[in-house]
């Protein structure tokens, strides 16, 4: 009998230990590791010329003066590009995003949209040349308000040839990028029959990712004439596939290399810079480099989808939830990247929380506007939907006069249960039915209450004249990859010396996935962390993986690594058994050595590695395995978030005194790194709740285009963040793990909104909760009283 992969083992020796991040010291010492650290010295510098108008048609581009400048290598316009509609969204194939974009187009659809490409010998010359381009625009009237986009006489995408890959509700002539609707039971009937009802609306804003490393890429032709692109990406294979389409090149001619990435959060799950360096390299034969300025990151990469979330709840007087109706309007900006899928996640990763309702409905439209495109961003629809849902649940608690915690406990999902929503709603497609095998929400809530000092009788108290403290809470779920769509692979090869090469397509973007994947391999192979040399990711040299998104890496890629390590273990035993001419059942592999059950033979892994590569004559072979994993389900991690705020009624300022997040992520493969995923997610969510806002002028010019005008939380802004992980074990996950990347961000906007409601009696509806809005709401309530 072969040994089964480790599935139900409660104790681990490498997994569940806080091993140091494998690249931590090197990155701190500043070793050349990120894309722009590695650029060949002879690379051309690429600058993009961006639209100054929110909507315009390019009438002409005169490059005469620019091309006269010494050192200018080329100027490229829409006329130099294949006329192929693409999407920039890094997603599976076929993409659920509409193909509504050209690398360069005759039309520009937001301030910052790419109008032309300039390449020169140095950056200053490229900038100068860009300023010398004479572009004549026919300025068109834009649509800036997403509530007036649908069926507006202005059509943002009038062009022919753009299309959806499969039905997603794409109706560009109506400014609709995607639409969706689902219903279980009869929501109207249930609501009408419900003695207690609430009807709420929340507007969630566009948010910027602000990964510390701006987007960068460089390209060159290798010795075989193949196009190599080194880029800060979250998904090398999707990048290659999209570029192949965009440039009309066979995929075999393209190689994508991901070096270290300085943060992603979804920002690098798209092709923003790669097509432009590729165009220049293909045109000139020269290496080409681009590094966006922070302003360009704000003006031309994506944001979180702005949404309006309307919720209606119906309940019995005892607090039994009977119906949920969630209607959403989402703003995808100028192009429809991730339009349908973020929209669906607003329902699919929130509604199952309250799985006992008799009827549930979800639907609405995703519309185009002349703003920066929206795309993938940690939380990906869930944070928008959850902010609406968890605000409405608190309103219901107020209306019923019951504890918001107990109302949730009464109605929320538990281990062993399911939700129809899992089966109905996937990401762009139908979902996958799933029973919940691990859900420790009860424990998350119990511990969270303890850590924040929750007392239903005292949710607000005065600390000084005009200053109050208040508590609020929310619960959340996420997923672990996209079932039946996401796939990850791992290859393991024994090396002379008895260590292993682990190649994964999984894309470490700074999260520490290289470290946790090495831990899983070390655990299963019974070796030390140092014996696993991990490399990610390169389309030429590592096996396939969809990439780092959708909370997939630990669960999907981690399962692939576990499978590969289990296969390697079997293969090692089989090979040694064959060499010894015994049955594999008679070989024990332990402590990096093989022995027969009867103890007659013994061989260290170290010696075996030399034997198989140098000493075994015709039986010499490299010991190598490759395995893949795609999930049949997407077990949700859960989190209970509790906040204590201080609210100044004179100024409207809200400060987070303490935020407690207690999470169930299954087995944390690396407790330190899992915890920090939650801590960082919470702060990003607090940023969205209180500070961060993408703002435009009435002409559509971005006002929040640097870190002075777009404030992310500093270390002085928030009191304390306390995170704990509860004991949990997901039977379908690698070593019991679920994913941890997104769940942290989801609760803060709702929990803080609920705390402000407890502090003031007012329900704020427009994120972020800046002092002006808080103050206006307090004044309005006082005026009404």
């Amino acid at each position: 009998m072969h040994e089964a992969p480790m599935r139900n083992a409660p104790t681990f020796s490498v997994v569940a230990h806080p091993h140091k991040k494998v690249d931590g010291e090197g990155l701190m010492l500043g070793r050349p590791a990120y894309t722009d650290d590695l650029v060949p010295s002879n690379a051309l510098h690429v600058k993009l010329v961006r639209s100054p108008h929110a909507f315009a048609r390019i009438k002409s581009i005169d490059a005469t003066e620019a091309l006269k400048l010494p050192g200018v290598a080329c100027v490229l316009t829409w006329k130099d590009c294949p006329r192929i509609p693409i999407t920039r969204a890094g997603q599976g194939n076929p993409e659920p995003s509409p193909h509504d974009r050209f690398i360069l187009d005759e039309y520009v659809r937001y301030v910052g949209d790419e109008a032309a490409v300039v390449a020169a010998e140095d950056e200053a010359t490229a900038e100068k040349a860009a300023s010398l381009l004479k572009i004549e625009y026919e300025v068109l009237e834009p649509i800036l308000d997403f509530e007036h986009a649908k069926d507006n006489p202005i059509i943002i995408h009038p062009e022919e040839g753009i299309h959806e890959m499969f039905p997603i509700g794409f109706e560009p002539k109506r400014n609709i990028a995607a639409a969706y609707h689902m219903e279980v039971g009869d929501v109207e009937q249930e609501l009408a029959a419900s003695p207690v009802r609430v009807d709420t609306v929340v507007y969630t804003q566009a948010q910027n990712h602000v990964a510390m490393e701006p987007h960068a890429a460089f390209s060159y032709l290798d010795v075989q004439g193949r196009l190599t692109i080194v880029t800060s990406t979250q998904n090398p294979w999707h990048t290659r596939r999209l570029l192949g389409l965009a440039l009309q090149m066979p995929l075999r001619s393209i190689r994508i290399v991901k070096p270290r990435v300085g943060g992603g959060f979804g920002a690098k799950q798209h092709i923003h810079v790669e097509p432009y360096v590729a165009l220049v390299t293909l045109k000139t034969g020269r290496p080409a480099r681009i590094a966006l300025t922070r302003r360009e990151v704000f003006e031309s990469t994506f944001t979180r989808h702005q949404m309006r979330v309307n919720i209606r709840l119906g309940a019995d007087p005892d607090g039994t939830l009977r119906a949920i109706d969630m209607q959403v309007l989402s703003n995808t900006g100028a192009y429809g990247e991730h339009a349908l899928t973020t929209f669906m996640v607003a329902g699919s990763k929130t509604l199952p929380l309250y799985n006992k309702v008799k009827a549930v409905r979800f639907g609405g439209d995703v519309v185009y506007t002349n703003k920066v495109s929206a795309g993938a961003f940690r939380g990906y629809g869930a944070i928008q939907g959850l902010t609406g849902l968890e605000s409405a649940i608190d309103e219901l608690a107020h209306k019923l006069g019951v504890s918001p915690v107990e109302l949730r406990r009464k109605n929320m999902i538990h281990e062993g249960e399911t939700s129809e929503v899992f089966r109905i709603m996937g990401e762009g497609t139908e979902g996958v039915a799933m029973n919940i095998e691990s859900c420790k929400l009860e424990e998350c809530i119990r511990r969270g209450k303890e850590l924040i000092g929750w007392n239903d009788e005292r949710l607000v108290w005065e600390v000084a004249p005009g200053r109050v403290h208040a508590l609020g809470m929310a619960i959340a779920m996420q997923g672990s990859g996209i079932p039946m769509i996401d796939m990850g692979s791992a290859r393991i090869e024994l090396q002379d010396g008895g260590f292993f090469k682990l190649h994964v397509g999984a894309t470490d973007i700074g999260t520490g996935s290289d470290t946790i994947l090495a831990q899983i391999a070390a655990e299963e192979l019974g070796v030390d962390m140092e014996d696993i040399i991990i490399h990610s990711s390169d389309t030429d040299h590592t096996p396939f993986d969809v990439g780092a998104y959708a909370s997939s890496t630990t669960y999907v890629s981690g399962s692939a690594v576990l499978k590969a390590a289990a296969s390697m273990r079997r293969k090692l035993i089989d090979t040694v058994a064959m060499l010894w001419n015994v049955s594999p059942e008679d070989v024990i592999y332990e402590d990096k050595a093989f022995r027969t059950v009867d103890g007659s033979r013994h061989l260290t892994l170290h010696d075996f590695s030399y034997d198989t590569l140098y000493h075994n004559g015709v039986r010499m072979q490299t010991i190598e395995v490759t395995e893949s994993f795609s999930g049949e389900k997407s077990p949700p991690p859960y989190l209970a978030g509790f906040v204590e705020i201080e609210l100044d009624k004179e100024t409207g300022k809200v400060d987070v005194v303490k935020y407690v997040g207690v999470a169930d992520v299954g087995t944390p493969i690396n407790p330190n790194l899992a915890k920090i995923q939650i801590e960082g997610g919470l702060l990003q969510g607090i940023g969205m709740a209180l500070y961060e806002d993408v703002r435009y002028s009435d002409k559509g010019h971005l006002l929040s285009h640097n870190l002075m005008t777009y404030a992310i939380p500093s270390r002085e802004d928030v009191g304390s963040i306390v995170v704990e992980l509860v004991d949990s074990y997901e039977p379908s996950g690698p070593c019991g793990a679920k994913s941890a990347g997104e769940i942290g961000i989801d609760t803060p906007p709702a929990a803080i909104a609920n705390a402000i409601r407890n502090a003031t009696g007012v329900r704020l509806t427009h994120l972020p909760f800046t002092p002006d809005k808080v103050l206006a709401a307090i004044k309005a309530a006082e005026g009404a009283a």
Partner: protein, 151 residues
């Protein structure tokens, strides 16, 4: 024009344009350990020490460094390794892009402030932004790092 700057103890003569920012001059000279994050002096990833004091090299003209000593993380590698160990033990090293600038500021703070309070630490480091960690783990590491010297 040529500027002469002592970088990590070594005198280097570098060709620059008058408007060049120090970060670009350093990176072009191969010091890619100095990162570029925001271009407006807000994020701190470009932090270097000028005669021992932290500055933002993205908002500091290279010409002003003439005759001065610039220290990048490579210039304090031994101390940085010591601090990295504390940071690693907390898992507080995430994408790492802010790490060289952040670590330099921590090292400068340690030289400048004796027994800083939590508030003083947060204030001293406020200009070093991090989007990954939520800061808590960094502060656990800093406290352990500072306390290790008193042990």
């Amino acid at each position: 024009m040529i500027v002469t700057i002592t970088i990590n103890g070594k005198k280097e003569s570098l060709q620059i344009e008058p408007g060049d920012m120090l970060v670009d001059t350093l990176r072009n000279a191969g010091h890619v350990e100095v990162k570029k994050g925001c271009d407006t002096g807000n994020c701190g990833v470009c932090t270097v020490l000028l005669d021992g004091k932290p500055i933002r090299s993205c908002s500091f003209l290279a010409v002003r460094a003439e005759g001065h000593e610039i220290t990048t993380i490579q210039g304090v590698a031994e101390e940085a390794r010591r601090f990295a160990d504390f940071l690693n033990r907390e898992g507080a090293d995430q994408c790492g892009f802010c790490a060289p600038g952040f670590a330099l500021t921590v090292i400068a703070m340690k030289r400048e402030l004796k027994n800083p309070t939590e508030e003083e630490i947060r204030h001293y480091l406020a200009g070093n932004l991090c989007r990954c960690t939520g800061y808590e783990s960094q502060h656990r590491a800093i406290r352990n790092y500072l306390e290790a010297d008193h042990a």
